[in-house]
Each structure stands twice: as C-alpha cells, then as structure tokens.
C-alpha cells in the first residue's frame, strides 16, 4: 500500500523496481554529449517511415521492444502501459501500441509525461493494480515543429529563449519484483501553476515556477533537503528555465548546486545551435531512461530527484491570448530499497 505524506506526496510501501529502461534518439541527439547513452540512434531521423508522425510512433515501438528485451520480458508479461506524447490526440503512442495487445492508459502531460507515467506505473504496482507496468513517451522535432510552429520548409527564425524539441523516446518498466538497480520510493503529483507567461517561445520561463512548486512540495512533504540527492534533474526547462529555477531557490537561500535539466544535458550549447536547449516529452524520457538510470545502475548516482515539467497550452490557447498553465510531476529514485 502506498502511504500519503501530504497534499501531493506519497511514499511507496514497497518501492517498485525499475526493471529496465531504454531510449531511442535521432541524429542530432546522437551527436550530442549523451550520444553514447542511447540504445538506438537513427541517422536520418525518419526511422524508415514516410511521415514524421509515423517516425515518432516507430520510435515508441522500438523503445518498447528494447526495454522489453533488456527486461527479458515479452508484451504479455506487462500488465499495463502508461503512454502519451505531444501530437494532437496522442497518435504517437496510440499507433505505436495498436498491435501490442498491452492494456493501455493514454496520458497527456506534455513534457512531464515520462514523470507522470512513472508515477502512475509505480502507484499501480505498489497498490496491486499491476505486477509490471511500463511508462513510455516520445517527441520528434519534425512532427512537433509542423504541429506547433511552422513547417520545416518555411525555415522560420527562432528566438533565443526557444527550445529545440528532442527527437527521442524513452521507456521504463516498473515491477513489484526486487531486481536491484533503481527503485521509485516517493512521488509528488503536480498541481497546475500558471505564472502568467504568454510567450510560447519561452517555455522555460513558463514552466520553472511549476518545477519550483513541485520540488518544494516533495522536499517538504518527504522531509528531504536538496543535499540528500546526488542529482536533482528537471526536464525540460532548458538553459533559461533551468537558470530561473536555480534563481527561485536562491531567493529562498537555497543553492541548488546539484541541479541540472535534461534540456541542458542533451545538447551542446556551443556547437549544436539549439538556443535554449532541449524540450519535448522525448527529452526528459530519453535522458532519464538513458543517462540517469544507467548512471544509477553503474553506481555513479545513488539518489535522484527527477521532476518532469509540462506546458499545458496549445497553439489555439496561445492564439486566444491565454497564458500557459504548467505542471511538474516528481519522483525520488534510489538505488536501494
């Protein structure tokens, strides 16, 4: 049974084990600082498909197959999967799973989807709802650009605060069995925070207050301090949002020395021309389900606070002049149970 610690934070009674993690990425991500952490890199970013939307679904098919293979499981061994993506009506996930025959919960959490899915998969396992549950998400630069901004062919200019949607996918399989490696010990379910930011080309600024709220909540309610973690990692605030988050904590007199952001990690700021860094569901998914969890398995990180952040707007709400409601969901992952 899961134990509630406060308004939004829970401690899992038997912290579910992350049995396997896998990640897939596109060419540009493969050329970045985390290039070696991806299980699969596709060098023309089409993943062999005829549309970018189909390429995104294909990434999810690949990452699920890879996670299953690393876990030595087949689809019937997974009781349920929590998945979603940025595409309208979440077709990235639906088409990836259409032949999988795995009970499926569709999520929409924008770039917080990996954290949202991981919380629900962990709660499902801890509550007896599932023995094994998966969390999966993706984003694709080319499908996102044409849906949210402009067709690639238009060659539009980007503002300095604009983030670069990561072409990538991640999948984690959570189980009740104790197999070592990494355990989800706590979770914090985000509340929407709307700081009034209306600039859809500055998601980092919009999302930082949500990240601040959720990280503060989980620290307070779990009785933890920032220094209890080897790493506090958000995803995806990018360079500007990451800086803003650290400044918000500084105003409280807290120096977040062990904080970084998946959007800061995945690209090289100097050489890769990505302006404010990476974003998209696939950014935190591919970094968390690659570099972070791999580092935990290798013993380089023992306790990590992972907060996925999402901007819950749409082009329609932006065009109607609305501000950007944001959310952050967080989990504490530990190498010991």
């Amino acid at each position: 049974m899961t134990k509630r610690l406060g308004r939004s934070t829970v401690a899992f009674g038997n912290p579910p084990c992350i049995r396997a993690n896998a990640c897939v990425a596109g060419k540009k991500e493969g050329e970045g600082p985390l290039g070696n952490s991806f299980d699969i890199v596709n060098n023309d970013t089409s993943f062999g498909e005829k549309s970018w939307e189909k390429a995104e679904s294909r990434m999810q098919e690949l990452v699920l197959a890879k996670a299953l293979s690393k876990a030595a499981l087949s689809p019937p061994d997974v009781d349920m999967i929590f998945a979603g993506d940025l595409l309208n009506q979440c077709i990235g996930s639906a088409f990836a799973l259409k032949d999988a025959e795995i009970p499926y919960f569709g999520l929409y959490g924008a770039c917080s989807t990996m954290a949202e899915g991981l919380i629900l998969a962990s709660a499902a396992v801890d509550g007896g709802f599932a023995n094994r549950a998966a969390a999966m998400t993706s984003s694709h630069f080319c499908s996102a650009e044409r849906q949210y901004r402009m067709p690639l062919e238009y060659g539009s200019q980007r503002t300095p605060t604009a983030q670069w949607t990561v072409t990538g996918a991640g999948c984690a399989i959570v189980t009740a069995e104790d197999l070592g490696g990494a355990y989800v010990t706590h979770a914090c379910v985000g509340q929407i925070v709307d700081a009034g930011v209306k600039d859809a080309a500055n998601m980092g600024a919009a999302m930082a207050p949500a990240a601040y709220r959720t990280i503060t909540d989980i620290l307070d309610q779990s009785g933890s301090a920032p220094e209890d973690f080897d790493l506090i990692v958000t995803g995806d605030l990018g360079f500007f949002g990451g800086e803003l988050l650290r400044e918000m904590f500084e105003l409280d007199g807290v120096e977040l020395l062990n904080h970084t952001d998946c959007g800061e990690m995945i690209f090289d700021r100097e050489s890769q021309d990505v302006h404010a860094g990476g974003s998209g569901c696939g950014c935190s998914a591919s970094v968390f389900c690659g570099e972070i969890l791999n580092s935990m398995r290798a013993g380089r990180l023992a306790r990590v606070l992972f907060a996925g952040t999402g901007a819950l707007m749409s082009p329609v709400s932006t065009n109607q002049g609305s501000s950007i409601p944001c959310i952050a969901h967080a989990v504490i992952v530990s190498s010991t149970r």
Copy 2:
C-alpha cells in the same frame, strides 16, 4: 489492495465509493430525453465565454464545483484528479484546473476518458495512493467541429453514420469512505483494437470491436454473464456502433438485451437530427455521471457494466490514410459493496 483477475481485469479489495457525481450540458442535450438528469444546462451553449474552447473549460469548472458541492467537499479535500478531453493538448481540462490547486493527472483516452479516469481514480483509492480522487471530462460540439471537421459557419453536410459531439461534461468523486450509493467493484483496462476501419465519419463501426473485446474480457475474467447486470452501457458507439456491438455478441449466441449506449440515450433519434447519435468525451461522462449513477442512487439500477470507448485517431492520421485504433475501458459499478 487491488486483486488481478486476469490479463486486463482487476477486482478492487475495498471497492471505492462514488461519493458524488455531477453533469453539465448544452442546450441541445437539455432538450433531449435526458434533459432532466443534467445538473446544469446552459441555454446558449457558450457558458458565458468568448470562445468555444473557453466554454468547454468553463463546463469542467462548473461540473467540478457541482460535484464537490454535492459531496460537501472543497478542492483541498480531493487528493488528485484525472481529467482529459478531445481538444488538442487537452486544453479543456488544463484551463479548467489551472487555479484549482488539485494534483492533476492529464489523460487522453478520447471518448473513453470518463471510464479511464474512473478506473485510475478507483485504483488510486484502493491502493492507498489517494483517499479521494476525481475523474472528469468534457466535450463541446462547437470546439470539436472546428478542430476535427469544419468550422460551423461552413455548414458542411454530415453522413448518416456521423455522430454528433455532445456538449457536456461529467465528474465523479471516488472515495475510500463507505457512504453508500455506488461502488466500483471491478475494472478492465482496454487494449487497442484496430479493425481496419478508415472512415472517420463512422466511429461507431471503428469502436464496436474494441467495446466487444473489453466487455468480453471483463465478463470472462470476472466470471460474470451479461444477465448479471441490470444494464450494460457503452459510450459512445451511437446507433450504428451500438447495433454492431449487439450483432457481434449475437454471432457468439449472446443476446445483449440489457445493452444500450450513451450515444443512443442522450438524443432523440427522430426529432433531434443527430444522425448516428451522440459522441465525444462529454457524452458518456454526462450520461454516466447523470442518468446512470442517479438511477443507481434511486434504486432503479443495482449493477451496471459501463464501457467507455475511444477512437484514438487524429485528423492527421486520417489524412495520412491510417486506420482508426480504438480502445474501450470498462468498470463494474454496484449499489452494494
């Protein structure tokens, strides 16, 4: 703790109680056969807002407030809410909840969202993840028409198999406390079924095989027969899809005499010119969280199987020639624990 009965069906250890239910609808729905079952009907369907998208969010605000008031609860009493809708990036839910300060999981299950949310809220309560959890969704005819089909001003013709998106919203609050009325005893998490239907104007045909699969699964795995229920209600197959589902069971030698569909119930087929009946997340939500649960509370129904069905396509996938992946999630609701 929740007990797994098979591949996709669970029995809740302490069946969560549906403490309150509320529903809101537009003018056309208010004029239909279920007009008296809606808590709030807005007679110009704008709900006082300046855009249809904002009207949809307003419906969710209203239905949440109404459900809370019926439950004698305030927002801080609800530990988490599961909500989603049909709008791109689920802005109907996000904007409705932006000031609610309730921990929020965004869902995308198309018209299955009410059932999906109810399953997750029930599993959360049964597993100790939440003491009280809400499930909420909406759809709006005018926001859906312009997003999925044509702007209303275009006045496009509809095919006979096209369904009419319901303007409506529903909310149910599920709690661990035993307060009588209705309990969620079992749930079946749907798997995607893609029968190859490509006609986006015939969702009933696309979704009927998913409903058939999930209803068959929950009956088999919970050891139930159709006649164990006072009502088997799907949402939203409409007139054609509902008929197809009954025909699929007939081929198995099973006469589903106690079946109806929320899309068949909500409009009058003769007088309301809705072609194949109602659809949209708000259809099954407003019918289940109104007529159905009200009938259970009044003692007219004792045991109900509710299966929410969703078509997980988008205009982009349809334009790319893809078939329509569908899903159905089901719950068994009983007036006794």
